[in-house]
Each structure stands twice: as structure tokens, then as C-alpha cells.
């Protein structure tokens, strides 16, 4: 298959040129973050998608990269590129150590170890004052100059390209085949001569290197790193965006991660959305209204009498609250509720998308995009290009 040149050029134009035309230079900070998230997604994909394990502490992987690079650049007075390389090396090393310790247990217990590692890192590791600056954090100057994010965006893109290349080569070489084999059946992998534990550790190392690079880019894009940047919430967001993107689908993960990162920008661009979100007396009835409509729909389709009754009640109640009639006493009550932080929206929308992913398109966004990707790569355009075997039993277990 020879790739089609025209769509690839169009894609390059969208990624390289379009942002210059559409966005202010200030928005490029967020666009850089989108690229960083894409690298984080690819890093998690190595562990969840390829190796069949999980990491709920990936914010720590990214954080260690961020603090390493910040330290190397500000304290050791090294250039930016040395900081990124150091972050990649240390990211890989810490991931291997965690893997070596955690792989003594499996399944849920393994997930718990990674989760507590993430919390430990934020609370303790990132509190070491000599390296991270303690709670005050550490400066991480943007290499292209303060506030000059346009060239920085292109630097991030170059690193994303590097990560994509490494990922692609890995999956096309013996490492990719070994990871696939041990994910599906470690007994078969071992009896074909694949040292299962060593390759799992290699998977951790590769994931850690990617995460370290992402962390360094994150730090220098922010200009500053504090331990609070790397909360458990962020780690869960990383996992969600990766699964929604579609495990083992580079395209899907990059798109999903980038979208996740730019949600604040999208919210700002839709007029009135941001102020509406800040008024719970408006948003809560809308959510109840939508949930009620879904309940009625499901009740009718599946023949559930209770769902229909509850749904109708929800619709009627919320409609009454929203209508000009006003239900006495309800609105002041709702105003007492805390406003919805726009960034929290991702933690509500993404889990819903994960459920939909598992129910309707097991390959996630990547499965939806697959016909297009196939076509761009020179294949025939076919809506059936997303094969059903993208879903595996191991994914459900992990």
C-alpha cells in the first residue's frame, strides 16, 4: 500500500498551518498541552494496550519527568534538550523500578500498587525540597522565551513525531510481537522462548521514557512545576482519554488526548456555555432533563415500566423548574449547590464515553477513525475496516 499524498498534505496543513490562522498565539500554550497529552496517551497505551497491564499512577511518571527536566535546566544550568533527555532516562528508570516491584502481584492488586505509587509520588517524592522546591515548586523556563508558545508548539510536535516513530517501530519488531503474545497468553509466549517478565519490564521502561518526555514538555510549557499539578484526578483522566481513544490505536489516542486537553478552549469558544456551567440552578435541571429523556427512551425500547415512570417524572420536574412558571422554593435551593468547574466536565463526559466505547465500539475512537486511516495509507475505503478483534478479553480484565 502506498500512502495517498494529498490527504497527508492536508493533515500536515491542519496540524502545522491551521492553528496559526485560527488561534491567538496565547492559545498555543494549550495546543502544546494537547500534544503533551497525546504523548502521555501513547505512553499509557504501551502499558494498557500493548502489555495488558494498567497504571493508575501515570501522573507520577509525568511528574518525575517534569521535575527532572526543571531541575536539570534551572539548577544544573543545562540546555532544554539535556533536560528532556534526562527526564526520558529517569522516567524509564523509575518505571522499571515500579514494574519490578509491582509485577510480583497481578490484577486488582497490581492496579492498587500503581495507584498508591501515584499518591506517594505527589505527597512525598515531589515534596523533597532540594529537588522539587517543595510546595513552592520549581521554575521551568520555556526554551523559546517567556510566553512565546508558537515555536514551542512545533517543538512538542517534533517530540510527538519521535514518540510515534518509536512506537511504530517497536510494534513492527520483535518487542511488539513479544508484548502481544505475553498479553494474550503468557504461557504460550514463554514456551516460544520469550522472557515474559523481562519484556513486561521493557514495556514499563518504554512507557516511562515516553512519559518522561511528556513531563519535560509539560513543565517547560507551563513555565513552572508544582506537586499539585500531578493529582490522582489527572492520572485517572489519562487512563480515560487513552481508553476512549482506543487501545492499540495510535491515531485514536492522539485525537482523543488532544481533544481532552483542549476542552477548556472549546468551552470558552461556545458562547454562553462557560457562564451557564457556573449557574447550577440552570445546569442541574438540564442534566436531569437529559437523563429523564434517556430513561424514557431506554424504558420504551427495553419495555421497562419503572424506567418510563421515573423518566417522565424527571422530565416533568426539570421542565417545570426551567419553565418561566418557576417552582417555588426549588431555585434558591439549587443555587446553593457548588458550580461545576469546566475542567471537571472531562471527568463526567469521559467515563460516559468509556461505557459507550465498551458497549458500541470496543476499539474506541481509533475504531471509528480506522476506515479513514486505511484510506489515507492507500487502502480501499471501507466502513468495515475496524475489525471486531480490537476488543480482547484481557482488556476487560485489566
Amino acid at each position: 500500500m502506498t500512502p495517498r499524498v494529498a490527504p497527508l498534505l492536508a493533515l500536515a496543513a491542519v496540524v502545522l498551518v491551521l492553528p496559526r490562522l485560527v488561534f491567538d498565539s496565547a492559545d498555543f500554550a494549550l495546543l502544546s498541552l494537547a500534544v503533551v497529552y497525546a504523548i502521555v496517551g501513547l505512553s499509557l497505551n504501551v502499558l494498557i494496550g500493548y502489555a495488558g497491564t494498567i497504571s493508575l499512577g501515570h501522573q507520577a511518571f509525568v511528574g518525575i519527568g517534569a521535575f527532572t527536566s526543571a531541575y536539570v535546566v534551572t539548577e544544573l544550568r543545562q540546555p532544554f534538550i539535556v533536560g528532556v533527555l534526562a527526564a526520558a532516562a529517569l522516567g524509564g528508570a523509575q518505571a522499571m523500578i515500579l514494574g519490578g516491584l509491582a509485577l510480583r502481584v497481578t490484577g486488582l492488586y497490581f492496579a492498587l500498587v500503581t495507584l498508591s505509587y501515584g499518591v506517594f509520588a505527589q505527597d512525598t517524592l515531589f515534596g523533597i525540597k532540594a529537588i522539587t522546591g517543595g510546595g513552592a515548586g520549581r521554575a521551568a523556563p520555556t526554551p523559546t522565551g517567556d510566553g512565546n508558545f508558537v515555536p514551542y508548539y512545533y517543538i512538542c510536535l517534533a517530540f510527538l513525531g519521535l514518540v510515534l516513530w518509536l512506537d511504530w517501530r517497536m510494534m513492527r519488531s520483535k518487542t511488539g510481537r513479544a508484548l502481544t503474545a505475553l498479553r494474550q497468553d503468557p504461557r504460550v509466549a514463554a514456551s516460544l522462548g520469550i522472557p515474559v517478565k523481562a519484556y513486561l519490564l521493557l514495556g514499563f521502561a518504554v512507557s516511562g521514557v515516553f512519559a518522561g518526555i511528556a513531563g519535560a514538555l509539560f513543565a517547560h510549557g507551563n513555565g513552572f512545576v508544582v506537586s499539585n499539578d500531578f493529582s490522582l484526578q489527572l492520572g485517572i483522566l489519562f487512563v480515560l482519554m487513552t481508553v476512549v481513544g482506543g487501545l492499540r490505536s495510535r491515531t485514536g489516542i492522539v485525537v482523543s488526548a488532544a481533544l481532552t486537553a483542549v476542552v477548556p478552549l472549546i468551552i470558552r469558544e461556545i458562547p454562553g456555555l462557560e457562564s451557564a456551567l457556573a449557574r447550577p440552578e440552570r445546569t442541574v435541571p438540564v442534566v436531569v432533563l437529559v437523563a429523564g429523556l434517556v430513561a424514557v427512551g431506554v424504558g420504551v425500547l427495553r419495555g421497562g415500566r419503572a424506567a418510563q415512570v421515573v423518566g417522565v417524572a424527571m422530565v416533568a420536574l426539570s421542565a417545570a423548574v426551567l419553565s418561566p412558571l418557576h417552582v417555588p422554593g426549588v431555585e434558591p435551593q439549587l443555587e446553593q449547590l457548588p458550580a461545576l468547574d469546566p475542567s471537571m466536565l472531562r471527568l463526567i463526559v469521559l467515563p460516559a464515553l468509556v461505557v459507550m466505547t465498551l458497549r458500541t465500539a470496543p476499539g474506541g475512537l481509533g475504531q471509528q477513525l480506522r476506515p479513514v486511516v486505511r484510506w489515507v495509507c492507500g487502502g480501499r475505503f471501507s466502513l468495515d475496516a475496524g475489525p471486531g478483534d480490537l476488543r480482547e478479553v484481557v482488556d476487560a480484565r485489566a
Binding site: L166, K174, T175, R177, D185, A190, S191, L192, D389
Partner: protein, 255 residues
């Protein structure tokens, strides 16, 4: 010198003695069978030989070297190839990819060289692909090369599994019920292919098998296990007609 030798193997799972003081040996060029009713401990013994199960007592030797403590992948590197009762394949991968995976030990470049895309890795990948195609052609599997292994019919999956094991260049094959799910004619054809492979590749074989006519036709030596112990051993015809074996399979009245 025997290729593979197990001496006084015992395995205990909690209160269950799965294998008790069993010794087997496979000489060069020999085809050796293990028979016995379900639950006799045959597969546990296999797991000890291939390294999935540590024995409580006893030693395993390969070409004279003690390998009792060696992990599974190291034994594969020494030249032990194993098939599984429920077909050991990477099910979501294509047949071709399975054969590439099976050449893991022979690819001849490091994992890191593969990840950074060194020219050596590109070159070796081409050689590995040629070898896979050669093996598939040899076994008549070329038409299914691009199909997903897990979706093939059962009999074909078993053939692909054999191809992957051969791709690891084994000296001794350990086959766990290779003809389960096959009819009598297919089993007979399998026996002929096995003998042909032994001739061409100089293999030794140890196999668990229920199909008694096949065992009689291809095996040089047979062990019969029951309740974790060795019941009888000897030439196939002697074992087959041994009263203990008949009793183990058919019950007391028949003997």
C-alpha cells in the same frame, strides 16, 4: 544419552499428590507416548518438564544438564518445543504474525535496536519473514497466512500451532494431546506427518495421547500413568495388553 530425562518427579498440590515418583526418559530420535485416564497427572508431568511447575522432588535433565530450576523461556532456547491441550497460539494475531512471534529467539537483533529502527533490524525482519513463508509453505498453510489464528477451524489451528513450535527449532517436541478433536483418518495422517518430521528434522518426541491406535503406530516406547503414578512402561504392544492398563481404562470387571 537421552535428550530429555526426568528422575523421581513428585508434585503435590495441597493435599493432592498429583504426581508421585515418576521417571521418564526420551532418547535421541525416539517417539515416546504417555497414556492414562483423565486426571492421571500427565499434563502436570508435562508442566514439570517444560518449567511451568516446580516439582517437590526430582530432577529434570536436558542433554545431560540439570535444568530443574530453569525458567520456561530458557528451556525453549535449549530446544524444547511444546504444544498445548487447548492450542497455544496468539489468537488475535494472524497466522503469519504467529510464525514471526515464534522466531523470537532467532531474529538476531536486540530489543532496543528494533525499537529505534536500526537498519540491521529492518534487514533481519525481512529474513524472518522469508523463513516464516518457507515454513508455511512446507506445511501447506500459505493460503491461510493472513487470517486471524483464533478464527481458524480447530484442526487448522492445531496445524498452525505445530508450525509455530517448529519455528523455534526444537530438538525435542512435547505434544499435549495433538490429535484431540480429530477423526481417526486425520489422526493417522498426523502420525505419518510426525514420523516424516522426525526424519527430516531429527526430532525426538514426547506426547500425551489418548488415541491408542496412533500410539501403537508411531511410538517406540510408552508410559502409562494412573493416579499420579507410573503404572506400566514398555513397548506399545506390551503396554496395551497389560492387565493393569486394561483395568485402569475399563474398570475391574474387564480384567
Amino acid at each position: 544419552m537421552p535428550v530429555l530425562e526426568a528422575d523421581g518427579i513428585s508434585v503435590r498440590f495441597g493435599g493432592v499428590q498429583a504426581v508421585r515418583d515418576v521417571s521418564v526418559h526420551v532418547g535421541e530420535w525416539e517417539v515416546v507416548g504417555i497414556i492414562g485416564p483423565n486426571g492421571a497427572g500427565k499434563t502436570t508431568l508435562f508442566n514439570v518438564l517444560t518449567g511451568f511447575q516446580r516439582p517437590n522432588t526430582g530432577r529434570v535433565r536436558f542433554e545431560g544438564d540439570d535444568i530443574t530450576g530453569e525458567p520456561v523461556h530458557r528451556r525453549a532456547a535449549l530446544g524444547m518445543g511444546r504444544t498445548f491441550q487447548n492450542v497455544g497460539l496468539v489468537k488475535a494475531a494472524t497466522v503469519l504474525d504467529n510464525l514471526l512471534t515464534a522466531q523470537h529467539m532467532a531474529v538476531g537483533y536486540g530489543a532496543v535496536a528494533g525499537i529505534v529502527g536500526s537498519s540491521l533490524a529492518f534487514e533481519r525482519e525481512r529474513a524472518v519473514r522469508d523463513e516464516a513463508a518457507r515454513l508455511l509453505e512446507l506445511l501447506g498453510l500459505l493460503p491461510v497466512a493472513d487470517l486471524v489464528a483464533g478464527r481458524l477451524p480447530y484442526g487448522l489451528r492445531k496445524q498452525v500451532e505445530l508450525a509455530t513450535v517448529l519455528a523455534t527449532h526444537p530438538k525435542v517436541l512435547l505434544l499435549d494431546e495433538p490429535t484431540s478433536g480429530m477423526g481417526p483418518e486425520e489422526a493417522e495422517a498426523f502420525g505419518e506427518r510426525l514420523l516424516a518430521l522426525r526424519r527430516e528434522l531429527g526430532l525426538s518426541v514426547l506426547m500425551i495421547e489418548h488415541h491408542v491406535p496412533l500410539v501403537a503406530a508411531v511410538c517406540d516406547y510408552v508410559y502409562c500413568m494412573n493416579f499420579g503414578e507410573l503404572l506400566v512402561e514398555g513397548k506399545p504392544d506390551d503396554v496395551r495388553s497389560h492387565p493393569e492398563v486394561v483395568r485402569a481404562y475399563l474398570g475391574d470387571e474387564a480384567a
